[in-house]
Symmetry: C2
Subunit: 230 residues, 2 copies
């Protein structure tokens, strides 16, 4: 009985995620779901790169946290619309929360919605939010064993980012183990190594985002056109 209820919750979530995906496609907006541990540098990466991505891209942000509006406050002046979702105690964003977040953004004025999920390397991966791509973050001070300990985000991510590489001289981090564990799970996933302190990898991440938005809009346009002729 317990399993059935959990399955129903996930099924309901998937149905709302499909509605989100359709709303995003009809507005021609790409959507990226960013996930990682508390303090892995999700907000810092956005702070460092939103100014480079704009104004060419119009970007809305949905920031998820258990409590506080601090991330939204940090990002408000750097994007074209921001919504903070406080989950209360819940450890992840679900599709219905994102649906409410999307309703607070002027989708037709945007190219990209970035969802900054609740700081958690585990539960958010399970919940489809209607995004076009999932991105997983690991940070250098967390240690090299995190891909092996958290395989699901490695298996499901469209992009992985290793943050805080400027700390490599100051912490024990065996990059050989990190890479070997990652590649033993998946040899086809893109990994970008970044530091908002040194600036390393920020151009590569911006390029990835621009390409993602272009490709996603192409896919969406074909889907919308196809659904209208059906």
């Amino acid at each position: 009985m317990e399993i059935k209820v959990v399955a129903n919750v996930l099924k309901l979530n998937d149905e709302v995620a499909a509605l989100n995906r359709r709303a995003l496609a009809e507005a021609g907006v790409a959507c990226l779901n960013i996930m990682g541990s508390p303090g892995c540098g999700k907000t810092a990466l956005l702070e460092a790169t939103l100014p480079r991505l704009r104004p060419a891209l119009k970007i809305g942000v949905i920031a998820g946290d258990i409590a506080t509006t601090r991330d939204a406050e940090r990002l408000a002046h750097l994007c074209d619309g921001v919504t903070q979702i406080n989950t209360g105690g819940s450890c992840h964003l679900d599709a219905n929360q994102v649906r409410q977040g999307l309703a607070n953004l002027d989708l037709h004025a945007l190219d990209l919605v970035i969802i900054e999920n609740v700081g958690n390397l585990i539960c958010p991966v399970t919940f489809d939010l209607g995004q076009g791509a999932k991105m997983g973050l690991f940070s250098v001070p967390e240690g090299a064993d995190k891909p092996a300990k958290h395989p699901r985000i490695v298996l499901e991510a469209d992009l992985l980012v290793l943050t805080k590489t400027d700390l490599l001289p100051h912490v024990p981090f065996d990059k050989t183990i990190f890479d070997a564990d990652l590649r033993s799970l998946r040899d086809d996933v893109t990994l970008i190594e970044t530091s908002v302190v040194s600036g390393a990898g920020l151009d590569a991440w911006c390029q990835w985002v621009r390409r993602f938005v272009d490709e996603r809009k192409g896919v969406q346009a074909r889907q919308v056109s196809q659904s209208r002729t059906e």
Copy 2:
């Protein structure tokens, strides 16, 4: 219906936690449940301090992770018994998993069981495991906003530890904000600031553990004696 099932799961968990608590009391073993984000330094703190706490204290460890036995391997030669619990995909240890972990340890030969929970600052806090005390870790590179964003662990912890203070010169971390947020939630909680690199705070943490074990054994002895006379 969903809420009822979740409530039942928690009720069942609490019942098994009570069994764990009784088994620990009857064996005269204190139990500490350690929680924090992935990579916040739970295992590193134990690696650095188990050699100081032993042989005066006999210590068993239950290490929780989604996957791998790496933590148990790191700690095996440093303690008097270790059990690794792999949760599969689950984001926390529950009381039944700890019950199985306790069954793998020779409780009557131990003074203390340390539960190193799954790396997650959110879900583990909800689940009573039968421990005598809860300890929450924050690490400096996670940033100063974590107590405000994760209030429940602050509210429920018997001890908070701030790890990796050696990184303070290398990362932005506003200690004034960290302290103010912490004290606005609770002004009575003990905070120990540690670094396994510099050694700062390790003596204070060991002293806290020794006092906890002494006090807990006293409480348990009175409880067991009382239940026998009832």
